[in-house]
């Protein structure tokens, strides 16, 4: 029984990170109907920036909470800018072209970041130590790592903050309006470009935090590290209902739990198969996802 609890806790901790990345996918999809495949690589850039800042400030030698915050802020700043630039240069010129063009461009941006990263940072994994290493919590036979606790707290806080932004601020209302019908929103005086840029920046900032948390949990960084988590988060977003913010959180958690239970009780070899099996299943049975609402085709 203790193992089951441990698997659940591990699953929630992985799932929280998937959820943070999935939020970026889902927001961009909600607003632009574009699957931003470069999102996983923005996540990688966040972790890489964290590594460099940590080395520059000497934080990797003597990690502290304040330093970790500084590193997270720097990574958020860089990734936010990167998200803005990607949207401005790669997606905006194609906004009125067929959707397939944008999708292929997204894959191109993803490759650009991955292999540009290999060129720039080198392909070797490096040790990432940002959060102070402390003993985790032990509740009976179940143990909860320090990084896991931080991950959970930060993820939940960010998700609440995001929920507030989307539902209780002016820009959030504008985002929802653009998501609902961008043409009408534009007629109502909403600045579409601004809203879309804001969405990209917000998603990228979340990816940066996820990158720092992920790299602290599995303390290595390398340029292709965004590939798998990016794909998994995409599955999570689809599972929850793409375009739906609470759906992304739920999808992330469900996926994280499913992975850990499968590798705990079946075999870790099946872990990725299950994750992508879930994607296929959702698309077949309930294409709108767990929380997604079906949209009547507009004529």
């Amino acid at each position: 029984m203790a193992e089951l609890f441990q698997h659940i806790i591990n699953g929630i901790s992985v799932g929280a990170i998937y959820a943070l990345i999935a939020l970026g996918y889902t927001m961009v999809y909600g607003v632009l109907k574009l699957i931003n495949f470069a999102h996983g690589d923005v996540f990688m850039v966040g972790a890489m920036v964290g590594w460099y800042v940590a080395r520059w400030t000497g934080e990797s030698q003597s990690p502290s909470i304040g330093g970790a915050l500084l590193i997270a802020l720097a990574a958020m700043l860089v990734c936010g800018t990167l998200g803005f630039v990607i949207e401005r240069l790669a997606y905006r010129p194609l906004r009125n072209s067929p959707r397939l063009n944008s999708l292929i461009t997204a894959i191109g941006v993803s490759f650009f970041l991955e292999y540009g990263g290999q060129y720039l940072f080198g392909p070797n994994p490096r040790l990432f130590s940002v959060l102070p290493r402390q003993a985790g919590l032990h509740v009976g036979p179940v143990s909860l790592g320090y990084v896991d606790v931080v991950t959970l707290v930060v993820s939940v806080a960010l998700m609440i903050a995001l929920q507030r932004i989307v539902y209780h601020t002016k820009i959030g209302t504008a985002m929802r309006a653009v998501s609902f019908n961008s043409n009408v929103a534009a007629l109502m005086g909403v600045n579409i470009d601004l809203v879309i840029s804001f969405t990209f920046v917000l998603g990228s900032v979340l990816a940066a935090v996820a990158g720092i948390l992920y790299a602290s949990k599995y303390p290595t960084v390398q340029p292709l590290m965004g590939l798998m988590p990016g794909l998994k988060a995409f599955v999570a977003a689809v599972l929850g209902g793409i375009g739906n913010v609470p759906g992304a959180m739920l999808g992330g958690l469900v996926l994280g739990l499913a992975e850990q239970i499968v590798s705990g009780y079946v075999s870790s070899t099946w872990r990725d198969a299950v994750a992508f099996g879930i994607l296929i299943l959702v698309l077949l049975v309930r294409p709108t996802g767990l929380l997604g609402r079906g949209e009547a085709e507009k004529v």
Binding site: A2, E3, Q6, H7, N10, V14, G122, P123, N124, P125, L127, R133, G136, H138, P141, S143, G145, Y218, P219, T220, Q222, E259, Q260, I261, S263, G264, S267, S268, T269
Partner: protein, 453 residues
Amino acid sequence: MRRILPTLLAVAALAACKKQDQGSGMMSPNATGPIVIGEVGSMTGTEATFGLSSANGIQLAIDEFNAKGGVKGRQLQVKVLDDQGRPEEAATAATRLIASEHVVALLGEVASTRSMFMAPKAQQAKVPMVTPSSTNPAVTEKGDYIFRACFIDPFQGYVGATFAHDNLKVKKVAVLKDVRNDYSVGLAKNFIDAFTKTGGQIVAQESYSNGDVDFKAQLTNMKAAAPQALYVPGYYTDVGLIARQAREVGISAPLIGGDGWDSEKLYEIGGEAIVGSYFSNHYSPDDPSPRIQEFVGKYKKAFGGQTPDSLAAQAYDAAGMLVDAMKRANDLTGPSIRDALAATKAYPGVTGNITLDQNRNPLKPAVVLKVGKGGKYEFVTKVYPEGMQPESGSGGDTAAGGTKTGGNTAPAASPGSTPATGTAPAVGATSSASEASNTGQKQGVPSAEHPKK
């Protein structure tokens, strides 16, 4: 008939042309320029230190041979291709080296999986290939042009099992293997066979795939079985992460592994979590044998003070063994070099005397190292295969004689739970590795005496 004749002539002419082409292709090894040896290695990627260390070792050996006048009056040149740690790339690199660089022989890969991708290409082209460090038995089974300079997994698994049983005195061990890696799978199997034979019990078996970063689920299951040690025959990046997560889920038992751990990155990634764990390896730079110390000195001088890991030492030996064979070969064609390589007898390598058996595998001792504080590897003990006496001067150093074999003067300082520091193998043994392996003992079924006090 009148029509057929010109056609026949044309075909004959074409055939002649083709033959000539082949001829010139075959001629290139006998030209006067430098002799080109191909090397395939993971110079980048998660096992980059494997490729880089090996390349250094090979370069050092080749430079020495060149300084001594090369082979058959010609200088040697190494052409290195990076496979980024990917098996398909290793096969492509081997093909490229054979087809466009006309290499006389191939060195590499470190990883067994990648060597197995290269081997068919070498075999097909009749280009001899020597892998410095691929320990999976299946590698040399790919064909009679494939050789290796290291011991094989059945022996390494046996070393791990013997060590766990005799030195650590553990009875319950859990195994965590990389299912996508032939090396890891083979080693795990051989460890399990040998360990159960000693009366030990495997309490849990779990697996992961190379590149995974989350092992908590497997480790949680293993913890429930309360193992006294974990056998983790993986590569250093994965092992470092596994060690960390094992401590996080509350497993405090030591980890045991194989030569795939050998990299300074192991401690960089594993940190304190890996300290106190053990792995079997090909050699220890702390071994006081003069032959090893001379090599360590030369290597440090050539590469800015870096201490050679065992991959560098193995690569140095593999290159040495190959060049030695090239010197003995009648000419520099594939078949001649192959025959000379197959006849290798008591080649005095840094990692031990190398004599190849009929399966082109050497019979050599292994060392067990402990990861100490600050990531320093401490020499713990040396394990010999069956029928093999500890040579004088670890590595069969004929000049030294006597009590040089590692262990007695090696860091006896390793504190705490190191049970076997200073296990000095029999003193002054004169029988060399060559004699031992000539008894027709098939390697891979070692039931050897463990040189204990």
